[in-house]
Symmetry: C2
């Protein structure tokens, strides 16, 4: 039997097409955020729904189960092909567990709920979206039930599985319990320890957007972002989209504070380097994709939080800021920059928060979404539960739902079981950066000189180029760092950074 | 039987999905031209190929033929549903005529040939693309043969059918023979009659691109383009892409001559108004699409050539030019503008030519592509045949292939049988505008005042809102103007515009 007419080769061809359709959807998602005029939303929803249904039909076609079984013997002893087959099976099991009618209903409910959320947020009125959210939660629960019946585990775990394959609530709880015991006391101590002398005031006319953009582009290049294989654009909600050879980063510019766009772009560049470094041999195959959203977030947070908010990076950045904004940047020295980039405060809004308080925002959402999926919290009671929960975790309460349960798009466009990956990613970032520091001599000194290649090469070798070769984030982390995911390096990092020596 | 579980309703659902996938491909095509970095080309080719193959598989699935037959009785007496079923059958016959392997081979050959063409054109060396072109012509011929076996008619007609359903070489020949007998003598007389006193020189710093763009946007709005349902961007080759509720016009700006972008945008706005005016009830259904490429080109040429290069439009435009470019625009009065927009000359390049010489450029390509498809002209002999043919038609010869057979992308990316629709469109534009003038009292005076609503409303009623209700361009023209497509109104238009009264 030649390799090209094996059962496995047939599956690869099938999944190549699925992968290409998935890529098409990713480009369309990017376009929706960056270019699409408002009138195009309904047509775009139809386009994306059609892609989703085609994907399901292709996975559900007769004989797939048998071929996945038959191919196993063909790939035995070949780690990449075996891993690819494992990932194919995983996708097939998860995505065929939900019948087409339920998938259509959930997809339509997501579009309707997201549109209602946009109005609700603009009008600061949760009632505008409440019934849509109730309907969506019900459909999400039903898809979760259908998947759990096939995958085993709980309904919530089945939902998490779409973002972080194999994730368990036991594992997430272990991480969060550790952090929930540590962070409140740590936050008090860190706030007590801070010195916040004023930083240079922004110029009256603001930091020019073009100069901010040029600074971002320069740093992206310095980190190894290839503009022949990617772009930087503007959108309301910054993200990293596109596909590995055509990566689309977006940001937004605040004329009053260059650090918003800059740190956002550096964060997305971490995501982008991961995508760019995925194994080219396995483009559009399941094994060629990122290991999961926790690992993805670890790459963005490693670049942003571990590297670019460090005092050594501030030393590299300060002269660039002075150059970029000529007179207006003159007051920014490394000390002021470091202080500005390491502010901590109790904030109502997750995306405005810092690495110390961020896990509390995530924990709040994790608790609430588990309760909603379990049927223990109704959508109608969400605003109150949100306020109480935030008060419990951070001691603050939103005055309006716009700053409360309407602030994130995730639930309203159907991403349930996604939030925990932010904090898993933060912990993994600290763990990976600790390993990198121990393996790369003089890494902080290199960062202070803007020499990022040693780090990025290490990440490519240890993480990016592995794609989904390992069966889980824990296994991937163990290969890269010698340890499963743990909160310890993250806690040590926070202590080193925010407490007096 | 309820309407939603009829066989016809099932077909509508099926074609709605096909339509949505087709829309996804159109957005990706636009993105390729406007945004995609060079490194993304291979991934994009895979995405578009996957969409094409999914489409073919959906059309070719078992039972489609039977359902198309069964549905006929259900739609009898309902003109729109009956027309939709007719168009479904047309698409099904044409697209399932080619087997999947041949479709894949042609799709890959198109990508490879287009990439080779880009190099060949940059290096001005036909040899770079010659063997790729030979390979592609062979595959195009084989797909044409497969389609002709199902559709009847010649291989070339089967290729034309993809752009202009039901087009015959007899019909195209009739139009071209008429024009070929008329144009050479007409061109001589028109060149003799012209007065070309100098027009105002461009300012040393050029016409600012931002001011050009603002002028274009203002005129697009004036013509009824809705920026909540569309955009204007920049690309190397201007075109109108996107989908009816999200129309993407592109242009490019020449700082030395504002009329290039302006007339280009007005041309694309004609295409855009057609897309925007297609029947909303039939979005993503076959009957809801434009009647064909000839009718599409008639809408762009009606706006550009019939309306916006007229002397009455120049009267409306002149003060806008003076406002847009302040000092630099001061010399542009209506007379100079009219003269500038109605230059005629023997040009080597189709896209730089005018409405008098354009048909000769198209006729050259029509002759050559028919000969290549018939096997009477080999790719190796194309450059020579091009020179001889252009000499024969216009009395000029290109000095290089870049200005000769490498100038257009069409053949190299697989569009064979498309060129005739340009000139069919030019004739249809003259015919439709003559009908509009006879039905709308005071139309030229309205144009001189920038009042386009009466014309656009007439076009929407007579053409746009009909989608593909009529079975052919001839039938659609007959409904709108009382006559089948004919060269007579186009010839009368040229005589009125370019010969002394």
């Amino acid at each position: 039997m030649s390799p090209t007419d094996s059962v496995y080769a047939g599956l690869e061809a099938r999944f190549a097409r699925l992968g290409a359709l998935g890529e098409a959807a990713r480009v369309l998602h990017w376009d929706s955020a960056v270019n699409m005029p408002s009138g195009g939303a309904a047509a775009r929803a139809e386009q994306l729904a059609a892609l989703k249904l085609v994907r399901r039909d292709m996975l559900a076609e007769d004989g797939m189960a048998g071929r996945l079984d038959e191919a196993a013997a063909e790939v035995a002893g070949d780690p990449w092909r075996a891993a690819n087959l494992r990932e194919m099976r995983r996708i097939w099991r998860r995505e065929t567990a939900v019948d087409a009618d339920l998938l259509v209903a959930r997809t339509r409910a997501e579009s309707a709920c997201e549109m209602a959320w946009r109005r609700a947020r603009a009008e600061n009125d949760f009632l505008v979206v409440r019934s849509r959210l109730e309907e969506l939660v019900d459909l999400v629960r039903r898809t979760g039930e259908a998947m759990a019946a096939v995958l085993g585990g709980s309904v919530y775990e089945a939902l998490m599985d779409a973002f972080e394959p194999g994730a368990t609530t036991a594992g997430v709880d272990e991480l969060f319990d550790d952090l929930a015991g540590f962070l409140p006391g740590f936050l008090e101590r860190a706030l007590d320890a801070r010195r916040d002398p004023p930083v240079p005031a922004a110029p009256a006319e603001g930091y020019p957007v073009e100069a901010q953009r040029a600074l971002c582009v320069g740093l992206m290049k310095r980190l190894g972002f290839d503009f022949d294989r990617g772009r930087l654009d503007t959108s309301l909600h910054p993200f990293c989209g596109g596909v590995p050879d055509d990566i689309r980063i977006t940001t937004r510019y605040d004329p009053g504070d260059f650090s918003q766009a800059l740190m956002g772009v550096l964060h997305e560049t971490g995501h982008a380097l991961y995508e760019a470094g995925l194994p080219t041999r396995w483009r559009r195959q399941p094994v060629g994709r990122a290991r999961g959203m926790a690992m993805h977030e670890s790459q963005s947070l490693l670049i942003e939080m571990q590297v670019c908010r460090s005092r050594e990076f501030a030393a590299y950045l300060a002269p660039l800021i002075r150059d970029a904004f000529s007179g207006a940047g003159a007051g920014w020295d490394a000390e002021a920059l470091g202080r500005h980039c390491l502010r901590i405060r109790r904030s109502l809004v997750r995306v405005d928060s810092d690495e110390v308080t961020y896990p509390s925002h995530v924990l709040l959402r994790y608790r609430l979404e588990r309760a909603m999926i379990a049927g223990d919290l109704r959508a109608a009671d969400l605003p109150g539960a949100w306020s109480d929960g935030l008060d419990d975790l951070l001691g603050i309460r939103p005055e309006t739902d716009r700053e409360g349960c309407l602030q994130d798009i995730h639930w309203y466009d159907g991403a349930w079981g996604y939030f925990p990956t932010y904090t898993m990613g933060a912990a993994a970032a600290a763990q990976l950066y600790a390993a990198a520091r121990s393996e790369i001599a003089g890494l902080p000194e290199a960062v202070a000189e803007g020499a990022f290649a040693p780090l990025v090469d290490w990440l490519r070798d240890s993480v990016h180029s592995k794609g989904s070769l390992f069966p889980s984030t824990d296994a991937a982390l163990e290969a890269a760092t010698g340890e499963r995911l743990s909160a310890a390096p993250f806690k040590a990092h926070l202590a080193r950074r925010y407490l007096p020596c």
